[in-house]
């Protein structure tokens, strides 16, 4: 009937070990032996354990030799750190994950800011001394004759560029002074009611850009 099945009392398997070890008190021992009369599965288990461990006890020197030989033969000596890693796989794994997460966070915080340009120094110089164009600027009544701007120290020559609305360079010229006359064939090209853009760059004697103007625009119009 039920005797063939496993012993349902979970306490008993623990008591069995303690009975085998011989550490039960006399009362517990009597109770367990009374249980043994009834339960066949516990009897079987106790028989098996006694057989197994008496066998182990009889041949224990050989088993110890086997265990040691395997330790020496197949496992090279490990350092303490690796032993720790192998013993506590779970904790180490979780801590490594958290560490990686932090590293990724720090990386993003540092490098998601605007990238630092390579030629920063040059631009700082250029931005420091912007060229300002006095003439022509804003809305004008007449067709402009001259272009004038402020002087810059150490500038050998200036490059002037004139663009139309489609970002097409109409005219470019070099000058050694801080003003230039617009030639007449360019003056003819300038039309009413259209924006024109001017840009000026200053070069030193080595051919390096010292300074650069913003883009200035002017409009030749009759309406004010």
């Amino acid at each position: 009937m039920k005797k063939e099945k496993k012993c349902k009392d979970n306490k008993m398997s623990k008591l069995l070990t303690y009975y085998y070890l011989g550490i039960l008190s006399s009362q517990e021992k009597d109770a367990f032996e009374a249980h043994l009369i009834e339960c066949s599965s516990c009897r079987k288990e106790l028989d098996l354990t006694e057989k197994l461990f008496s066998f182990i006890n009889n041949n224990r020197e050989e088993i110890i030799a086997h265990l040691k030989r395997k330790e020496i033969g197949f496992k090279p000596a490990r350092s303490k750190v690796i032993n720790f890693l192998i013993d506590r796989k779970l904790t180490v794994g979780i801590s490594l994950l958290i560490f990686c997460f932090f590293i990724i966070c720090i990386y993003y915080f540092l490098f998601l800011k605007k990238p630092i340009p390579l030629n920063e120094n040059i631009y700082q110089e250029i931005r420091g001394e912007n060229i300002k164009i006095y003439q022509p600027a804003g809305k004008i009544k007449n067709i402009p004759q001259f272009i004038r701007w402020n002087e810059i120290k150490g500038a050998e020559y200036y490059l002037i560029q004139l663009k139309d609305e489609n970002d097409k360079i109409i005219w470019s010229a070099l000058s050694h002074e801080n003003e230039i006359k617009i030639p007449s064939f360019i003056q003819e090209k300038i039309k009413r009611e259209e924006n024109y853009y001017l840009k000026i760059k200053a070069f030193s004697s080595d051919g390096r850009i010292i300074s650069e103007s913003k883009v200035f625009n002017f409009l030749f119009t009759s309406r004010f």
């Binding site: 623990k14 098996l48 197994l52 182990i56």
Partner: protein, 189 residues
């Protein structure tokens, strides 16, 4: 548990009424366990006597009405068995002085190559079982069962309490048994 106690009350009532079937059923139920238990305590010659006497005493006490239904029957049986056993052991002590065992069998070497081979295979399997245990159980199992340290000595060595060591030994025993059972090395240990 309730079903068992109901059956027991039925049996006890049947014996009190003088039914033979109830007696036979009760003997069937507890015979194996009693034989097994008495084999552990005394030699084979006296087993049958002890079992017979315990059943005799049991039926006597049931008929007198000492045993009441409600309390598990195994406890009564074990109490009677203990008394009977104590009497036998006392009687045996007197004879023991005269009896002397012949130890001549121990000096004959019974080992054959076949048995030796099987033994080595079993040793290999058991070492594998022990190796497959988790390290904290393995240490204590090796210390207790192989090196022969007692539980108290281990607790002094490892700074663990006696309770935890006993528990680890228990788990180690269970795991080794399970693995060994799978590989069927118990066929003839």
């Amino acid at each position: 548990m309730r079903e068992i106690s109901k059956q027991e009350t039925k049996l006890i009532q049947g014996i009190m009424n003088g039914e033979k079937n109830a007696e036979i059923e009760l003997i069937k139920r507890f015979k194996k366990g009693l034989i097994w238990l008495s084999k552990r305590k005394v030699e084979n010659d006296q087993v049958d006597d002890i079992v017979q006497e315990t059943f005799k005493n049991l039926f006597k006490s049931i008929r007198r009405g000492i045993i009441k239904p409600g309390i598990p029957l195994k406890d009564y049986i074990f109490g009677i068995f203990k008394k009977v056993l104590a009497e036998y052991i006392e009687a045996k002590k007197k004879d023991e002085i005269i009896m002397n065992k012949d130890n001549s069998d121990d000096f004959i070497d019974k080992r054959t190559p076949e048995i030796e081979y099987l033994r080595k295979e079993k040793i290999d399997l058991i070492t594998k079982c022990i190796e497959s245990l988790p390290k904290k159980y393995q240490e204590i199992v090796v210390l207790h069962y192989l090196e022969g340290y007692s539980v108290k000595e281990i607790s002094a060595l490892t700074n663990l309490s006696i309770g935890t060591i006993c528990y680890r030994l228990h788990i180690g025993r269970k795991k080794i048994l399970k693995k060994a059972n799978k590989k069927l090395i118990f066929a003839d240990l």
